[in-house]
Structures are given as structure tokens and as C-alpha cells.
């Protein structure tokens, strides 16, 4: 069988072009679709009412005036397990400055199982039982962990996909704490 180099080269170039277009589109599209982080930035964080592990109903608006780290997680998510102890630690460290960490469990597990899981990881912050519609109101949460940083004025400062380093999390917390500080001072 004779192989013509020109044909091989043309095929290789076409395949490369298709792959490049695919990669380009997949890199761009999340920023333009409902999985977007940029789409929520600067917008007011949607309020919600969710049940806490103790059965009480908690609203996002209950934390008005505080910077909120809103973390969507699940018991089946291994990367989530890594950052939860960091969140607990950061909650201790920045509580006096006005930080509130809120975990939303997007899980089919029972509240008891979720509570046990969180306790084993040393979670000291508010944990709520998630609902799909709350994830949808935040632009969709197709994978976990997904974390929103909400400023004191209630606007979304940042949205982060997947596991990030502790340093990055702390920087985003500082940014959220500084957002809306002027508003607080005026009040």
C-alpha cells in the first residue's frame, strides 16, 4: 500500500485544526455558559432558604454585613474533603473580621450522615442541606467543589471551580472581606 505524504500531512493538519478548535471552544464556553464564574461576578448573590443540620431554616440574607464563603460540596467528593478543614481553620482565623463560611451539601446522604462526615473533618461552620434549585440560581453547580466568595455588600466577588490551594482561598477571603467595607463604614 502506497502512502502519500501530502495526504498524511493534510489529514494531520485537519485533525490538528479540529482538536485546536475543540480545545479553544471548551476553554471558552464555561465562561459563557451557566457554569460561568465570570457571569456571577459583581452580581448580587441570590438569597436562599435551606435547612441546617439542626433543622433550622437559614437564609443567605441572615449573614448580611458579613463576607460569606459559600462552598458547594458532597460526601462523595474527595477534593472537597481536603479544603473543608482549611475552611474550618480560616473560619476561626477570620471570624472576628466578619467571615462566615457556609457549606451546602449537594448530597443524597441523610442529614445525620452529612453531620457525621462534617464532624469528622472538624467542620465548625454552618452546613446546609442543598437543593438543586439553589445550585441553579447560582448558575449551576455541575461539579464539586464550587465556591463563591460573597462580599459584605452581598455581591459575588469570585467563583472558584474545583480544589484550590489554601493560599488562593485565603486571598479570595481577604478580597471578600474588603468588598463592601466602605458601605459598612458609612453605615
Amino acid at each position: 500500500m502506497k502512502r502519500d505524504p501530502v495526504i498524511i500531512i493534510v489529514v494531520a493538519l485537519v485533525v490538528s485544526a479540529m482538536l485546536a478548535v475543540g480545545v479553544y471552544k471548551s476553554r471558552r464556553s464555561p465562561d459563557q455558559t451557566k457554569t460561568s464564574g465570570a457571569g456571577m461576578k459583581g452580581q448580587s448573590a441570590p438569597d436562599f432558604a435551606l435547612q441546617a443540620l439542626d433543622g433550622k431554616t437559614v437564609h443567605l440574607s441572615d449573614f448580611r454585613g458579613k463576607a460569606v464563603l459559600l462552598n458547594f460540596w458532597a460526601t462523595w467528593c474527595q477534593p472537597c474533603k481536603i479544603e473543608m478543614p482549611w475552611f474550618a481553620d480560616l473560619q476561626n482565623h477570620y471570624a472576628s473580621e466578619g467571615l462566615q463560611v457556609v457549606g451546602i451539601a449537594m448530597d443524597d446522604a441523610s442529614p445525620q450522615e452529612i453531620g457525621k462526615f462534617a464532624k469528622d473533618l472538624g467542620v465548625n461552620y454552618v452546613v446546609l442541606i442543598g437543593k438543586e434549585e439553589v445550585g441553579d440560581s447560582y448558575g449551576g453547580v455541575p461539579f464539586l467543589p464550587t465556591t463563591f466568595y460573597i462580599g459584605r455588600d452581598g455581591t459575588v466577588v469570585d467563583k472558584v471551580f474545583g480544589l484550590k490551594g489554601r493560599g488562593e482561598i485565603e486571598s479570595a477571603i481577604k478580597k471578600a472581606l474588603s468588598q463592601g467595607q466602605a458601605v459598612q463604614a458609612q453605615k
Binding site: 490538528s16 482538536l19 464555561p30 455541575p142 464539586l144
Partner: protein, 209 residues
């Protein structure tokens, strides 16, 4: 000398179409262009594999299964082949911690065909950047599950369809995706097999031994 080298050694001329008559590449240029093309393809593939979390959704697909023939009354094993996208892993059937969701195959069988156990391969013990000190039992790449089936002796020979779902939960190196279910369908061919020897054949004066 390989055919390919022979191709390169001659000037590349495609004369079957008049418009291509002018296309004449020196062997060196052709070799360089070929190398560049291969590099481009490999680079694009590498970049596609290393997209940040959430930029690609995990995909598990089932290869078209081969229809196997099982003799009625006898057991047989159907191998089902699944492909897990590069860059993703799914938990094995026996994950290392209680909260992880195991990969499971649930099947409904036609009447009079017994589905035995599903044979899951042992998971690979792997650690990931999100927990370098912890080993997880996972499947990556190609996953082959064996399904034991046994048609009863009363089954009419022919083709029988099985339906079910593979439940899995995938993660990449920094994020996890909600559990998903992949439809699983396959056929088996039930054969009559050789006539069973009767221990106590009917007595007849016309039976010849």
C-alpha cells in the same frame, strides 16, 4: 526500504489531477511538514487532556458488545467493555471509604435467563494531587465487566436482550462530578446445544442399540 521511505525519496508528485501537478514537495520538506503535523496533533491532544477542572465533562462509553452464544442450561460469561475518558477516574466497585459511590452494574434479564454475579475487576490503587498521601481504588481507561448468565433448559433458542445501567461517579484531579447512569444493552444468543443424554430412555421395541 519501507514503502513510506520510497515515497519520500521520490519527489512527491500527484499527477492524477491537473490542479495538483504543481504540487511537488522535496523529500526533506515533506518529512519536515510531516513531523510538524505530528507534533501539532500530539500537542493538541496533550492540551485537551490537561484542561482545568470543569472544562470537560467526564464521559464513560460502552463499546458495542459482541453477541455471545450460550447453550441453554449452561452458564456463560458476557464481557462488557467500557471506556473512561482520559483525565478522569471513577470509583471501583469497592471504594476505599464508605462515602465514595461504587461503580455498579444493574441488569434486568429476560424471563428464564438467570443473571448471576457481575465480575468487577479490582480497582487500581492510585493517589491524586488532591490527596497525595491517600490511595483510592479507581478505574481508569478501559473497564471490562463480566456478567454471568445461564439460560434455563426450557428457554426457546434465539436472541435475547438485556438492559441495565452502569452507575458511576467520576472525578478528575481537582473536582468531582455528580453520579451518572449509563444505559447498558446487549444481546445473547441462546443455542439448543447437543441433545442431552437421557439416563433412562424410553423403552421401545424399535430402539436399536
Amino acid at each position: 526500504m519501507s514503502l513510506f521511505k520510497q515515497d519520500l525519496n521520490r519527489a512527491v508528485t500527484i499527477s492524477s489531477y491537473p490542479c495538483r501537478r504543481a504540487m511537488r514537495l522535496s523529500p526533506k520538506l515533506a518529512a519536515n511538514l510531516l513531523a510538524l503535523s505530528c507534533w501539532l496533533v500530539l500537542t493538541c491532544l496533550a492540551v485537551a487532556q490537561d484542561l482545568p477542572p470543569g472544562k470537560r465533562l467526564p464521559s464513560v462509553t460502552m463499546s458495542p458488545p459482541r453477541t455471545i452464544t450460550v447453550t441453554r442450561g449452561k452458564p456463560g460469561t458476557v464481557d462488557l467493555h467500557f471506556r473512561i475518558d482520559g483525565g478522569f477516574h471513577i470509583n471501583s466497585n469497592t471504594p476505599t471509604t464508605e462515602f465514595l459511590i461504587p461503580t455498579t452494574l444493574k441488569l434486568t434479564a429476560p424471563t428464564d435467563i438467570v443473571v448471576g454475579k457481575v465480575i468487577y475487576p479490582p480497582g487500581e490503587q492510585m493517589s491524586f494531587p488532591f490527596a497525595p498521601d491517600e490511595k483510592l481504588s479507581v478505574y481508569t481507561g478501559v473497564l471490562v465487566l463480566g456478567v454471568l448468565v445461564r439460560p434455563l433448559v426450557t428457554v426457546v433458542p434465539g436472541k435475547y436482550a438485556f438492559h441495565g445501567q452502569l452507575k458511576y461517579q467520576a472525578c478528575d484531579k481537582a473536582a468531582c462530578y455528580p453520579p451518572r447512569q449509563l444505559p447498558v444493552d446487549f444481546l445473547i444468543n441462546v443455542a439448543k446445544g447437543s441433545a442431552a443424554r437421557k439416563r433412562n430412555p424410553g423403552q421401545s421395541p424399535h430402539v436399536h442399540r
